[in-house]
């Protein structure tokens, strides 16, 4: 009944469009990343440069991936650290 009154005044229940848009947004994060394999490689290179300023890392062991859960996509970087520098210039 309240829903009916809501519609009468131009409101209305939430439709499936929101889900469509949210699911699309997430799936496109993946699609776009895999369409340009260069993107992840470039990201790795720059990560190495930045982190190397602060610590010595195992460059060959570095992994960067997209991790997907129900409602979000996360960028997961696994970076083995060899030593941390004592001071940064």
């Amino acid at each position: 009944m309240f829903e009916f009154i809501g519609k009468l005044f131009g409101g209305g229940s939430e439709g499936s469009k929101k889900q469509a848009k949210e699911r699309l947004r997430l799936v496109l994060v993946h699609d776009r990343a895999s369409l340009s394999p260069g993107l992840v490689e470039d990201l790795k290179e720059e990560l190495i440069q930045v982190i190397s300023k602060y610590m010595e890392i195992d460059e060959d062991g570095l992994e960067v991936n997209f991790d997907e859960s129900d409602d979000s996509v996360a960028l997961i970087a696994n970076i083995p650290v060899k030593t941390v520098k004592r001071n940064v210039n």
Partner: protein, 262 residues
């Protein structure tokens, strides 16, 4: 020198062929000389949408492989004659037989003669798609406001980009204003948010399309059809006119009742 547009989508069944037929007819109605090329080898359909299927003698492969003169393969439209011509796809052969260089050469030749050369691309992103986009100067993407169609369109934007077609525009096809109003379909702004490419037009879902395809007469000629109006608007935009998007919402009492009772 004419423009070469490719009509493409990634996903099948979203309205590439219908759009090609209607934009071609719409542009011819505005006085342009138009050549339509069906590049969907093995799945020819543009001929039936235009109602020209009985006139086909030669096809695209016959032209590309030199079995007939270009002039002989051009099928003149029932209404617009020389101003709107079709080169039909081959129906009997395999898709990957078209040579991209020959295709490019044909398109260059057609450009000399016609104001618009419109290439109807096959669905997918394989060989046939690559052939269709190889000669184009601009791309028009067709999508419907659905997750799968928009996703595929996004992928095609990337592929067009790497092929050097940098500024594609999108037509949102089969929009249902009633569903948009209920929040059950993505609207123009939602598709815009996601794809981030210019929207060339919005075509409402319309039963007239089915009737006109049954008859082989493009809906763009039907003054009563909303989809026809949308295609007429898009044709004018292609000629550089600024035409606002149609207001697709019902404003009458029936619309209000439907909204309340839905």
């Amino acid at each position: 020198m004419g423009k070469v547009m490719v009509i493409t989508s990634g996903k099948g069944g979203v309205g590439k062929t219908t759009t090609t037929a209607n934009l071609g007819t719409g542009l011819a109605a505005l006085g342009q000389k138009v050549c339509l090329v069906d590049t969907d080898i093995g799945l020819r359909n543009l001929d039936v949408v235009l109602g020209l299927e009985n006139r086909i003698v030669y096809d695209l492969l016959d032209v590309l492989e030199g079995r007939c003169e270009l002039r002989k393969a051009l099928i003149r439209d029932k209404q617009y004659g020389e101003r709107l011509v079709l080169i039909p796809a081959a129906q009997t052969r395999e898709k990957d037989e078209v040579d991209p260089d020959q295709m490019l050469e044909l398109v260059e030749q057609l450009k000399e003669e016609y104001d618009f050369v419109i290439l109807d691309s096959p669905a997918g992103i394989e060989h046939g798609f690559k052939n269709a986009i190889s000669g184009a100067d601009m791309a028009i993407l067709i999508t419907t406001p659905e997750v799968s169609a928009v996703r595929d369109a996004d992928r095609v934007v990337g592929l067009l980009e790497s092929a050097g077609l940098h500024d594609p525009q999108v037509i949102i096809n089969r929009l249902r204003p009633d569903m948009v109003r209920k929040g059950d379909m993505m609207d123009i702004s939602d598709v815009d948010d996601i794809l981030r490419i210019p929207i060339l037009g919005v075509v409402p879902d319309d039963e007239h399309i089915i009737v006109s395809t049954n008859r082989g007469e493009p809906v763009v000629n039907d003054k009563k059809s909303k989809a026809g109006q949308a295609y007429r608007n898009i044709a004018r935009r292609l000629l550089g006119e600024e035409i606002p998007f149609m207001d697709l919402q019902e404003r009458n009492l029936m619309g209000w009742f439907r909204k309340v009772l839905s």
